[in-house]
């Protein structure tokens, strides 16, 4: 009987298989080649090696699993409140420090303000891995560009590199960024969305806490803020996100970028300290825990030493 690549026909041949929810062991989504009942993938003559770049195979697999009803585990997202504003001498960026995995706080003090260039920093919201990877990659590209041109990197360069990368992945790279910096053309602040669109704004907020932070900005922002006013406003906006949004919390990170100087103020504010920590510590004395049963298995050595073998030949 000839091999068929038709799924329905295969269900007829292997009726039990159709009952299992997960059929990925039977199908190689890459080429739609069914595996034999021994689980060996039959290779076509024209099986070419993948050429590099992102492989969407797993995305196809994930979609297939979803259709079958298998739930995806939640990503570690950054929840997040990230903000940026332009003040008279440059830009101030701010971020909270909570990273969530569904309802659990995965990291109480993570760094969301990423280095792009000595004069450009980027806050990231969305999937933590995506923001890290994309900012690292663009930072690397900017460094190579600096060597090639011999000049300081420009914010629009970083912006274009980010947006073209995100657009080519059609929103699958879940990174929402607030990009800010100062270059020869002046201070710049942009937001970048996962699908690759960008905005240029005097003040911006992103993440789950963006509405809380934006309410602060909309009522208090004005042009020509001084450095102290700018930092204070950013900290206030992040705090609004921290206290009013579940996805944001812990501490406030601030980064001030001006012409010729950048200050990364890690943990600028710590509004959520652990107040009730026992200074005496905890002691666990032997005998406090009730022993229900004891079983001791002695470890037997399986290594046998044999004395006196022949010396190796030269």
């Amino acid at each position: 009987m000839p091999l068929t690549y038709d799924r329905e026909a295969l269900f007829d041949r292997f009726p039990l298989a159709s009952k299992s929810k997960n059929l990925s062991h039977l199908f190689d989504p890459r080429k739609d080649i069914p595996k034999s009942s021994f689980g060996v993938r039959m290779v076509k003559m024209t099986d070419l090696p993948t050429k590099g770049g992102f492989s969407f195979d797993l995305c196809t697999r994930n979609q297939m699993l979803l259709d079958k009803g298998v739930q995806m585990p939640p990503f570690r997202k950054t929840g997040t409140t990230i903000v940026g504003l332009v003040f008279q001498d440059g830009v101030v960026l701010g971020a909270d420090t909570r990273a969530t995995e569904g309802p659990i706080v995965a990291d109480k003090n993570c760094e969301k303000i990423h280095f792009m260039a000595p004069n450009i920093y980027c806050c990231g919201a969305g999937t933590a891995a995506d923001t890290e990877a994309v900012t690292d990659m663009v930072s690397s590209q900017l460094q190579l560009h600096r060597y090639a041109t011999g000049r300081e990197s420009r914010v629009v360069t970083a912006l274009t590199l980010l947006k073209s990368h995100l657009f080519s992945y059609q929103g699958h790279v879940s990174a929402a960024l607030v990009l800010g910096g100062v270059d020869v053309t002046g201070p710049h602040l942009h937001t970048v969305y996962p699908h690759g669109s960008t905005d240029t704004l005097p003040f911006a907020t992103m993440g789950s806490g963006s509405l809380a932070a934006m309410s602060v900005f909309e009522s208090k922002y004005r042009e020509g803020l001084t450095r102290e006013e700018g930092i204070e406003l950013v900290a206030e906006a992040i705090c609004a996100g921290i206290f009013n949004d579940l996805g944001s919390g812990s501490n406030v990170d601030v980064c001030v970028i001006t012409k010729g100087q950048t200050e990364y103020l890690r943990n600028y504010q710590l509004p959520n300290p652990r107040t009730y920590i026992s200074s005496k510590g905890y002691s666990f004395v032997k005998g406090q825990t009730e022993v229900l049963s004891t079983k001791i298995t002695p470890i037997q050595s399986k290594v046998q030493t044999v004395e006196g073998g022949d010396a190796m030949e030269e």
Partner: protein, 235 residues
């Protein structure tokens, strides 16, 4: 690639066991402008002649000494365009290393990878060996280091080395002048004197280039006015 006329390697063994193309490549290096490097106790200095083909060339647009990473620099003798290709590849490799290990690439690793590229071009189809020798200078956790990489892909660590036209005179001069406990400033003076030895014409900040790296681990190329200051000290 496959069946073209040039899919075989252009570097093939001669009956005496030599790779003639590499010998010729070394000739190309030997007829290039002199360059040298000196490893001091607290840094490294590299220097090269910058003879331009005509007085009409804008000398500010030419820079022979390049940075590969903030703490590793390189100078070449031989064909300039070939060195550009190598510098570009090495910069990219340094970035890839950093992205993988989150550590600035150690000099030995970068030298090894650059040398591997150069060797590749002696054993691939349809390409010729690079017509440059590189002097790679840097300062990392293992201290100041100086490496020379040849068109064959072999590399050596040197305390002081020279390449190009005036190599034998320069090396003899360096052998006499080199001391283990040289400071960076002394090394710069020695480098200038070595270049002066075989220099045709009037030496000045405009027709030589000097790159230095000290304990601050920041490689930088000296400006022509700084070079003029050093030249005045040496007089």
């Amino acid at each position: 690639m496959g069946d073209s006329q040039y899919s075989f390697s252009l570097t093939t063994f001669s009956p005496s066991g030599k790779l003639v193309q590499i010998e010729h490549a070394l000739q190309a290096v030997g007829s290039g402008q002199t360059s040298l490097g000196i490893k001091a106790a607290n840094g490294v200095v590299v220097a090269t002649e910058k003879k331009l083909p005509s007085i009409l060339v804008d000398e500010t647009s030419v820079q022979k000494i390049q940075l590969m990473t903030p703490n590793i620099g390189v100078v070449y003798s031989g064909m300039g365009p070939d060195s550009r290709v190598l510098v570009r590849k090495s910069r990219k490799q340094a970035q890839q290393y950093f992205r993988l290990y989150k550590e600035p690439i150690p000099i030995t690793q970068l030298v090894r990878e650059t040398a591997a590229v150069m060797q590749e071009f002696t054993q691939s189809g349809g390409v010729r060996p690079f017509g440059v020798s590189l002097l790679i200078a840097g300062y990392d956790d293992n201290g100041p280091q100086l490496y020379q990489v040849d068109p064959s892909g072999s590399y050596f660590s040197w305390k002081a080395s020279a390449m190009g036209k005036n190599v034998s005179n320069a090396k003899t001069f360096l052998e006499k002048r080199y001391t283990e406990d040289m400071e960076l400033e002394d090394a710069i003076h020695t480098a200038i004197l070595t270049l002066k030895e075989g220099f045709e014409g009037q030496i000045s900040g405009k027709n030589i280039e000097i790159g230095i790296i000290g304990a601050d681990r920041k490689f930088r190329v000296l400006s022509s006015s700084e070079i003029d200051d050093y030249l005045a000290e040496v007089e």
